[in-house]
C-alpha cells in the first residue's frame, strides 16, 4: 500500500518531468522499476533480459515516449560510430549531384546511416571548412567532390582510418578511393561520333580549366582529333565557360564567325544549354550538330533531340556508398579509383551531317 503510493508518486513525478524535458534512461528505469543498464539492454536488443522485464521496460519507454540518445551512446560505445556520414557536393541542387546523393542515401539507409549534405560551390575554402564541420560532428565517413588544389589537409584524419571516398574527381596529395566517370573516354567518343558523321570542322566549348573533369574531357576530345588526323589548330577550343549565359555568348561568337564549325561539343550541362540557346537563336539547330556531356531531363523532347554523353550518377552514388561501407567495415586494401563508363545516347542533334 505504502509502497504503491510511493511508486505512483514517483512515476507521476517522472512522467511530469519527462513531458517537459526529454526523458532519459533514468526516467524509464524508474518508471519500470529496474536499473538503467537493463533499460539499455532492452533498447539495444541485447540478450539476457527476461521477457517479463523486457515488457515492463518497453511499456515504460512507450509511455514516456522515450528515445535513445545516439550521441551519448556513441560517446561510450566501443567503435564509437555515430551512424552518420558527410557528403560534400558542388551543390545539392545540381541535378547530377542530387542523383548521386539519392543513390548514396538509398544504399546507406539500409544500414541506418544518415547523411549530412552540403554544397561547396567550387570553393576550396568551403571544402576545408565543411570537412572540419563534419569531422567535429564525428561522422563515420566522408564522401566528397574535391575542389581544393590538394586534399592533403585531411591526411591526419585519413591515417586515423576515417573512411573517405572521393566522387566525380580524384583527390590530389592523398591516396584514397575515388569513383569517377571516364571523362576522357566519353569526350573522345563524342568527337569520334561527330567525325564519323562527316564533320571535320568541330568546336569545343568547355568549363573552367581548374576543374579536373573539364581538363580530362578536353584532353579526350583533343586526343581523338589527333587520332582522326584533324589539325588541332583548326578546331576552336573555348574554355572557362561556367554558366549558360557565357556559353551562349561563346557559341554565338563561334557560329557567327567567318568559317563556323559544323559540329559543336559542349563539355557540361549548362554549357550545352547555352549552345542550344545559341543554335536556336540563329535557327541553326537542324544544321549544326551538337553533342553534350551530361544527360538532362527533356533532352529527348528538344527539336532535334540532343545527343549526349550520359554519365551515370546513380551508379556513381551507389558505388561510392558501397566503397564507403566496405571501408567502414574495416576493408584496408590499397585505395583504388573506380571508373564508371559513360554512354553515348543518340537523339538526333549529334547525327546531323555537315551540308
Amino acid at each position: 500500500m505504502m509502497k504503491d503510493e510511493i511508486m505512483t508518486t514517483m512515476s507521476n513525478r517522472y512522467q511530469a518531468d519527462a513531458a517537459k524535458n526529454r526523458p532519459t534512461m533514468r526516467h524509464v528505469a524508474a518508471l519500470a522499476g529496474v536499473g538503467i543498464k537493463t533499460v539499455s539492454r532492452v533498447m539495444n536488443d541485447e540478450a539476457g533480459v527476461s521477457e517479463a522485464t523486457r515488457k515492463r521496460v518497453l511499456s515504460a519507454s512507450q509511455q514516456l515516449n522515450y528515445q535513445l540518445d545516439m550521441a551519448a551512446g556513441s560517446l561510450r560505445r566501443s567503435g564509437r560510430q555515430t551512424l552518420s556520414i558527410g557528403l560534400l557536393l558542388p551543390s545539392v541542387s545540381n541535378p547530377f549531384s542530387s542523383e548521386i546523393h539519392r543513390a548514396l542515401e538509398d544504399t546507406l539507409a539500409a544500414r541506418g546511416i544518415a547523411v549530412f549534405a552540403a554544397s561547396l560551390d567550387d570553393d576550396p575554402e568551403r571544402e576545408k571548412a565543411l570537412v572540419a564541420a563534419f569531422l567535429g560532428r564525428r561522422v563515420d565517413g566522408l564522401v566528397l567532390t574535391p575542389i581544393a588544389k590538394s586534399q592533403s589537409y585531411v591526411i591526419p584524419e585519413h591515417s586515423r582510418d576515417l573512411p573517405m571516398v572521393f566522387i566525380d574527381r580524384e583527390p590530389v596529395g592523398i591516396e584514397a578511393d575515388a569513383v569517377v566517370t571516364d571523362n576522357a573516354v566519353g569526350a573522345a567518343k563524342a568527337a569520334a561520333h561527330l567525325i564519323a558523321h562527316g564533320h571535320t570542322k568541330l568546336a569545343y566549348l568547355g568549363d573552367r580549366a581548374d576543374i579536373q573533369t573539364a581538363r580530362e574531357r578536353k584532353r579526350g576530345f583533343v586526343e581523338e582529333l589527333g587520332r582522326a588526323g584533324i589539325a588541332t589548330s583548326a578546331v576552336p577550343v573555348i574554355e572557362g565557360l561556367h554558366d549558360e549565359e557565357s556559353a551562349c555568348q561563346a557559341a554565338l561568337g563561334l557560329l557567327r564567325s567567318e568559317d563556323p564549325p559544323t559540329a559543336v561539343f559542349s563539355s557540361q550541362n549548362l554549357v550545352t544549354f547555352g549552345a542550344m540557346r545559341a543554335l536556336k537563336e540563329l535557327g541553326a539547330s537542324r544544321r549544326v550538330a551538337l553533342v553534350g556531356f551530361d544527360d538532362f531531363t527533356l533532352a529527348d523532347m528538344m527539336d532535334p533531340g540532343i545527343t549526349v554523353i550520359a554519365q551515370h550518377p546513380e551508379r556513381i552514388g551507389k558505388l561510392a556508398a558501397e566503397r564507403l561501407l566496405a571501408r567502414i567495415d574495416g576493408d584496408d586494401s590499397t585505395p583504388q579509383t573506380y571508373v564508371v563508363p559513360s554512354e553515348l545516347i543518340e537523339r538526333g542533334s549529334g547525327e546531323l551531317r555537315p551540308r
Copy 2:
C-alpha cells in the same frame, strides 16, 4: 633538466597516441601543460585566458591536429544544441525539393548549422522512421514535407519545444509553422488564363488525391471554372497521375476522344512532361494550349515555350529556414502558415487560342 625530460617523454607519448586515436582535450592539455578546462576555454573563445596560455594551447592543438568533439560538448552544454537539423523531402533528387534544400542550407550555414537530408518517397512509414532517426541524433530542429495522414505522432516532441517547420504541405493534427505555395490560387490563375484566351473546353490532369497540394490545385482550378460559369461536368478531371508515363497515356486518351479539349492544365512537373509528350506525339503542340504547375529547366526552350505557374522553392526554403531559426532562438508565438505566392510565366503554350 629532469622536468624537461619528463615533459618531452610525455609529449611524445601523447603525440604518438594522438596520431593513432583521435586526440582529446586531455592530450592537448597535457602537451600544453595546462588543465583541460583551460583548453575548453580556448577552443570556445571564452574570455579569461592569458594571451601566453592561449598561444601555448593553440599551438599544442594544432600540433596534435585536435578538433573539438561537438557531440560530447552538446551533451553537457546548457541548451544542448547540436547545430544540426533534419530535412525530410519527397526526394533529395527532385529538382523542386533540392532547390528548397539549397536555400535552406545557405540560410542555416550562416549560423554553422549542418543539415541531415533524407528522402521520403511519399511513404508515411518512412516519414515516421526518419523523424525518429533524426530525433535520436538530437537535431535542433526539423523541416519536413509531410506525407503521413497526420503528424500527431510528433506532438510529444513538439510540446517539448522541438522547432519544426513544415514545407510545401500543411501538417494535420498538430499546430506548427508551415511554408506553402498558394496552390489553389495558382491553379485558379491557370484556369483564368486559359479562359481569358478563349478556351471553354478545358481539361485537368492531376496528381494523386492523397497529396494535399494536388487536392488544393484541383480545388482552385474547379472553383475558377465555377466563377467563369463553365459547367464542371463538361470538363474532364483526371487524377491519380504520379509519373510521366501515366500522364502521357491519360493525355493521349483525352486528346483522341471525340470531343477533345482545346486547353490542358497539368498539376505538376512530371504530369506536364507527360502532357507535352502526348501533344508532341499527336503533333498538337501548337494547337492545344497547355499550362503546367511548376516551372522547370528548359521550359523556354520548348516549341512553343511552356507557360507555367512557377513556385518559388528558393523563397520557400529561405523562409522555412528563417522560421526555424526564429523558433530555435525561442520565438514562441502562435504557429502560422506562410504562403509564398506562385507566379504565372507566359511562354507561348498557354497563350494559344482555340481554333
